[in-house]
Symmetry: C2
Subunit: 359 residues, 2 copies
């Protein structure tokens, strides 16, 4: 086995999920993530964790969802599994990133709403999502398989402790700040972050950070005003979107346009009330990620980008007892700040043209 | 998709597992059973069942088991999953039937013992095990892939209602009988079946039958005396066994020999006390299965064979409230009756030279 796969598994289990003896772990495996699953299973066995391995396939989900009459129920067995789990490790990796492209939006939404309890229970665990580099992801990135592997492991196999220290600076600024102002081509947006807690997303549950790779600092904005253009092309629910422009009034999207994929954005916005408000402002700081590969797990962490998510806010951004924006969805969209741009907190310049003031 | 795969899925969901709206189903998928999983997911969606899809890989299990210190725990989350499940559909199909061949016996046994609760809970559901024909199974059978597919679907896609009616005859004889006597080359064995209930294994939970394909009538013997030779070569826990001879006294194996795979048999016998007693006497009646393919799911159903299982008895063979042989294992071994042989119940000839008296 490629030593990089073993190292990926070790970082996931130790640094990211902090797995301990006796932990009840759900290991979710994509159809092409088998090799990583073998490596992770070995690490989990060594640590004496208890494992249920689930299969996460877009094709299987599509077959189930499209043949159902949309009157979905939440399975008691699924709820019980996640309510009792201490950790959920998701190893993404399929054969076709568009496998679910033709599942109707109302079907996705109906299923998403019916299974909200499962999602809540999962978010209450030490959950970490990562991906095994696959040919399908290489294709989505427009890269050869070998080049994509090198890219992915460069992003994943980092010195996370040292990156975490760098990101602490930005967290300090956001925690102390009240208002964020983003200015970019097609963007002039203000958001309140008063009283919110920024997360130093260092790819570890100990930092309330649940993605591997990570390398962003994020918080939960509200009272958003103005407009923003997401110039980074993306895939949302299996559909390509490009140059999405959202206009906010009083925290809510009041109009939008998109050069491509307007339907996908409309579907998202119509999920529920919370889907029209922001749940996240994230600032990419992983300088190991040097190109957009059309995979949100990597793209949103790229140094010099900023992303905003429609929908659900993470509890980790809120003071104990308070709750943020609620929604069945959380959809990230990215704007590239590496042109002429400004990111200000309470009028102070933090990043100019994609470069932090301390860089 | 091959129409045979869709038909396989329909038989599994409707005839075998009797899935109904709202059933909480665990769908267990082998690494090469993906296509069947897609077809089954579509059937489950159509019927409005709730599904958790698990991944069953010998390589993942091996990695976990061999890196563990053998002090296994049963996961609360796994127990909860199976305790709440209404049905468990297992779609076998891997890349290497010997994937777990080097997992030490004591490791298997330790894990098997620690997770007995999960196994009990699973057996309390509408569980059905089937296999997707794979290249690995074709190889094990010494057959080409296409020929193996034809063989497998011939065994699976049957008129189960009509086969069930044929098998009812043998069930009547066994239910009324007290003693079974098997005579074959290297075999002279008597077993008590007094008060036990034969199962007409028609590949449906409505018949207390949990394998697809099926086509056997089985009961739970006790007080076994004599000797038996299993001349059909098999794979037990990843190891080849051939010409196993067991000698019974007072219901228990007192000595054994094997031309090949004696170690594997010894491992089984040493699991626990119940592993040295019989849990099952099964009589193959599926004339659609016309050759040994080194896969117990098919081999034991072949018309003209008889199998005996060391270990656990099924509750379905016992009157309400009574329990049969208890063990963490259930290992089937097969003897081919198609030479000079006799199968008698209370001294009456039922089968001679592999042919039933009514055939």
């Amino acid at each position: 086995m490629d030593e990089r796969v073993r190292e990926h598994a070790r970082i996931l289990v130790d640094w990211s999920a902090r797995i301990e003896r006796g932990d009840d772990v759900v290991l979710s495996v994509g159809p092409e993530a088998h090799e990583l699953a073998v490596a992770v299973a070995a690490e989990l066995g060594e640590r004496g964790a208890n494992v249920v391995t689930t299969y996460s396939s877009g094709e299987v989900s599509r077959a189930y969802l499209t043949s159902h009459d949309d009157d979905f129920q939440q399975g008691d067995h699924e709820l019980a599994l996640y309510e009792r789990a201490d950790a959920v490790l998701s190893l993404g990796g399929g054969r076709n990133t568009a496998a679910m492209a033709d599942v109707p939006a109302e079907t996705r939404q109906a299923h998403s709403k019916a299974t909200e309890g499962v999602r809540e229970a999962r978010l209450d665990t030490k959950w970490v999502s990562t991906v095994h580099p696959t040919r399908s992801l290489a294709q989505q990135a427009g890269m050869s398989y070998e080049a994509y592997q090198a890219f992915a492991y460069d992003a994943i196999l980092r010195d996370w402790e040292s990156l975490a220290a760098q990101m602490a600076k930005l967290k300090e600024i956001l925690d102390a700040g009240s208002e964020v102002h983003l200015v970019n081509e097609g963007t002039d947006l203000t958001m309140s972050i008063e009283g919110r807690i920024a997360v130093n997303s260092a790819a570890s549950v100990d930092y309330d950070s649940h993605n591997l790779p990570s390398g962003e600092v994020f918080t939960a904005p509200e009272a958003t005003e103005g407009y923003v253009t997401f110039d980074v092309p993306m895939t949302v629910n299996g559909q390509r979107v490009k140059d999405v422009k959202l206009v906010f009034e009083d925290g809510e999207v009041v109009s939008f346009e998109a050069e491509q994929g307007a339907e996908a954005i409309e579907e998202v916005l119509e999920t529920d009330e919370g889907a029209r408000r922001l749940g996240e402002l994230g600032i990419g700081m992983n300088r190991g990620i040097d190109r957009i590969t059309d995979n949100i797990l990597f793209d949103e962490k790229m140094g010099g980008t900023v992303h905003l998510a429609l929908g659900r806010a993470y509890d980790s951004n809120l003071p104990e007892g308070e709750s943020g924006n609620e929604s069945a969805v959380h959809v990230d969209l990215i704007t590239d700040m590496r042109g002429e741009s400004r990111l200000e907190v309470d009028g102070e310049l933090v990043q100019k043209d994609g470069v932090f003031r301390w860089e």
